[in-house]
C-alpha cells in the first residue's frame, strides 16, 4: 500500500478526476487502471450522446431531469463544456423517441461512475486502498 499523503493533497488530487476521468488515478501512479477507467467512462458518455441522451441543466423543467443534472454533473468539465456549448441539449420533441431514455441512462451512469472514481482516488490517496 502506498504511503498516505496529507488530507488537503488527497482532496485536491481526487478532484482532478473532474477535469478528465481517471486523471487522479494517473497521478497516484495507477496508470494502467487510470487509462482503463478513462476509456470506460468516455465510452459510456459517447454512447449516451450517440443514443441522443440529454445533458440536463439544473434549471430543467421537472425534478426528475434536475436529479439527472446532479448525476451528470459528476462528469465535471465534460458536463460543463457540454452545457455551455449546448451539446446534447434537452429537446422536448426528442423525449418521445425510443432511445432517449437509454441515452440518458448512459449519460447519468457516466456521471455517477466519475463520482465513484473521485471517492476511489481519495481512498487510494489516504492509504485506505491500494
Amino acid at each position: 500500500m502506498a504511503e498516505p499523503i496529507p488530507r488537503w493533497k488527497a482532496y485536491a488530487l481526487s478532484l482532478l478526476t473532474l477535469l478528465v476521468p481517471g486523471l487522479s488515478h494517473w497521478f497516484l501512479g495507477k496508470r494502467r487502471r487510470a487509462l482503463l477507467l478513462f476509456l470506460i467512462v468516455a465510452a459510456t458518455f459517447v454512447v449516451g450522446i450517440a443514443l441522443k441522451g440529454a445533458l440536463f441543466s439544473f434549471g430543467a423543467p421537472n425534478w426528475l431531469y434536475r436529479l439527472g443534472a446532479i448525476a451528470e454533473s459528476g462528469l465535471g468539465l465534460p458536463y460543463l463544456v457540454g452545457i455551455l456549448a449546448s451539446i446534447a441539449k434537452l429537446d422536448p420533441a426528442e423525449s418521445a423517441s425510443l432511445m432517449f431514455g437509454y441515452g440518458n441512462v448512459f449519460l447519468v451512469t457516466s456521471g455517477l461512475m466519475n463520482m465513484l472514481l473521485i471517492m476511489d482516488a481519495f481512498d487510494i490517496a489516504v492509504g485506505r486502498k491500494d
Binding site: 425510443l98 437509454y102 441512462v105 451512469t109 461512475m113
Partner: protein
C-alpha cells in the same frame, strides 16, 4: 445497431461490469469473475424484469 434494445442492454451491462471489475480487482482472475457475475445479474435480471412486464401486461 445501437437502436436494438438487447444490444444496448448488453453494452450497458458490459461497461458497468468492466468499470467495477477494474475498480475493485487487481488480479485478472478476480476481474473476469467480477465481470461474469455483474453481467449475469444485469442481463438476466433485466430480461426477467422485461418478461415479467410483458406477462403482467397481457
Amino acid at each position: 445497431m445501437l437502436n436494438d434494445h438487447f444490444i444496448t442492454l448488453v453494452l450497458f451491462s458490459l461497461l458497468v461490469a468492466c468499470f467495477f471489475g477494474v475498480l475493485n480487482h487487481r488480479d485478472l482472475r478476480g476481474f473476469f469473475i467480477s465481470i461474469a457475475k455483474t453481467m449475469g445479474w444485469m442481463v438476466l435480471g433485466s430480461l426477467a424484469f422485461a418478461y415479467l412486464m410483458l406477462w403482467t401486461g397481457r
